[in-house]
Symmetry: C2
Subunit: 380 residues, 2 copies
């Protein structure tokens, strides 16, 4: 088992009716004036905005608002948010929304202390501090609410890249699963695929951490089972609660302890898809690429993939597990082919180019461009 | 699923050769002078003391030493340590040892700010702050290295009681599994029983947190499997690493999320045994009482105990699982009867009296004195 350091200081406040605690938590950190960062406006229709702002008022926290964080959040918007914070001497960021809003909050919180936000994604700037971040989560998928990572898109350079720093763990996250009942089904399903993908990216590293394998497998099974229940009844609170907490645990560190930092190749390929078409949801791209990647690489670590097939999918072979996974995604109405996402074979070379832009592709199997072509072909 | 708050800020530094990082970690917290708290002296023979003090010297951390923390640490010793810290204006406690040393460190760290340490165990004092605690763990069992609980014995009043406060999470814990290779087998086995017991105390609450059941079951299986491997070869690093991390996770909160705080009745009864005879190791007492308690109460939540029997022990019935557990403990050379611990039936009334001293006994089944007599009889 590899050496590791585990330190996740985020305070998770979980459950029905707890959003009203946000103002007090911010006040407890001696913060008086925050930026409320949000997306397209769904928080105004599901009641979250009202709960948050009432709590801020009751606790005498002043705030400014910045709206319009898009799915696959952009450097351009992050730069505007950064200017707003500086101009108004705001002390913290309160991200109210899903992973995109939280990721943009993290990018700004760290980026505000360096010359250029994008430098931290290129590895050209050292992160020594960040503004405190608070989050109220409204869509469980990315795990960003309890980790130190963020993804941002640089549209001009066609890059969707990530960074990580211990300085951007949210101080406090409030997760009320019941506010996710009103999500369109597609977003719940995509969240499920995303959470499952995070678990698999760690799992397939296949190092000798039995304890992590056990936790990781149990979380994969729970995600599948609870999304299935939500498919039947999206208002099933208990299923929503179990799924959303699993989704947080899928990428808060615990499911990847001593797993060499994870594989993350499928995430890399998916990022290229959504750079080419920002309309593609992250979970959709993952649902398409993951089965193809497994099919192409599993024989480099057959014992690990067979263990996964048996323990997660009760399958007799890896091929059987892949089929079960594809059938499951289809049953959730998720796409499983590049064709469904609107790509043609003529796009492959561009997808490959963007992916290799980032550097080496693949850990357990180092992929050459022709390997990636074959994976895209399997996913077509 | 119940609402919960999860906030575990301890930084866990895990792996071979990492004890030398302790001085730097203490320095990073702006601390210059600490109390090094230790037990009977095994850390001088296994090399841990040398590694710790070299690291303190290299990082210019001054220290005083206090030795002699006993298994089942005592209020009397804690009071002496507290005076030493006050008299020398020490800024933090560095606990080097197993759960007893860490528990005494926590008791002193919080107790030093109130009139009387025992008040915090009686619930007669509010804990508003504590000295910072650092730990170097040398025996994995209690989970104290990454949680907010401590147990202390008040010999005069025949009470072995616990307290919990978010102020006593260790700032940093270093866990180098390889230093546990030199433990007598008995301590490894007792640690395994203790870890398994923590998991079961949460599990049998049986609330509707599927995600926690899954994680908890996987940890139970891992503890059993890795202790079995250590039984074959105590120097198996990978088994030691997987076991020790499982032991931490068994009581750092993650395995008990939304489980109503846990059952803890068997722990309560065991504490009475070791109050009557401090020579009894905590794990030994648990190995004796747990099977009897399960046998006596399982029918109040049959679906939960059957799920446990199937998923942890691959057993067809609860009775079968109890037998498998007893056989496992016996194979680890742990005792499974009160007789083996030296008790006679004439001790029962005293054990019962001490246990009921604490108040209500039992959550999933409220035990009357005659119920407890029956459990002791089953364990006899």
């Amino acid at each position: 088992m590899d050496n590791f350091t585990f330190h996740n200081p985020t305070k998770m406040i979980f459950g029905k009716g707890r959003i009203k605690e946000i103002g007090k938590e911010i006040g407890n950190n001696n913060i008086n004036k925050v930026l409320l960062l949000a997306g397209g406006g769904s928080i105004k229709t599901n009641g979250v905005y009202e709960q948050v702002t009432n709590s801020l008022k009751e606790n005498n926290i002043e705030w400014l608002e910045s709206w319009g964080v898009r799915p696959n959040p952009s450097l351009e918007h992050a730069n505007k948010v950064s200017e707003l914070i500086s101009a108004n001497k705001l002390e913290a960021i309160l991200a109210v929304g899903g992973g995109s809003v939280i990721d943009e909050a993290k990018s700004v919180a760290a980026g505000i202390y360096v010359d250029n936000i994008w430098d931290i994604f290129e590895g050209n700037a050292q992160i020594e501090k960040a503004l405190p971040i608070f989050t109220v989560l409204t869509l469980s998928a990315t795990g960003s609410e309890m980790n130190s990572f963020a993804v941002l898109s640089n549209d001009k350079e066609m890059k969707k890249w990530s960074f990580g720093s211990p300085h951007v763990y949210p101080k406090v996250t409030i997760l009320d699963p019941s506010v996710q009942n009103s999500l369109p089904w597609r977003q719940t399903a995509n969240g499920g695929v995303d959470s499952l993908s995070h678990l698999m990216e760690y799992y397939f590293m296949g190092l000798d951490a039995e304890v992590t394998f056990g936790i990781n497998e149990s979380l994969q099974r729970t995600v599948i089972q609870e999304i299935d229940k939500l498919m039947v009844n999206q208002n099933n609170y208990n299923a929503r609660a179990n799924y959303t907490w699993s989704s947080t645990l899928a990428l808060n560190g615990i499911s990847g302890v001593a797993m060499g930092g994870g594989e993350w190749t499928v995430h890399g390929i998916e990022h290229s898809l959504s750079v080419m078409n920002p309309e593609i949801a992250h979970g959709e791209g993952l649902a398409v690429i993951f089965p193809a990647w497994i099919k192409y690489v599993w024989e480099v670590k057959p014992e690990i993939f067979r263990k996964w097939a048996k323990n997660v999918w009760e399958a007799d072979s890896v091929e059987d597990a892949i089929q079960k996974m594809k059938d499951k995604f289809t049953s959730w109405n998720a796409p499983i082919t590049l064709r469904e996402l609107g790509f043609t074979k003529s796009d492959f070379s561009r997808i490959i180019e963007i992916t290799f832009n980032y550097g080496r592709v693949g850990k357990i199997k180092n992929l050459k461009k022709e390997d990636m072509f074959n994976i895209l072909d399997l996913a077509y």
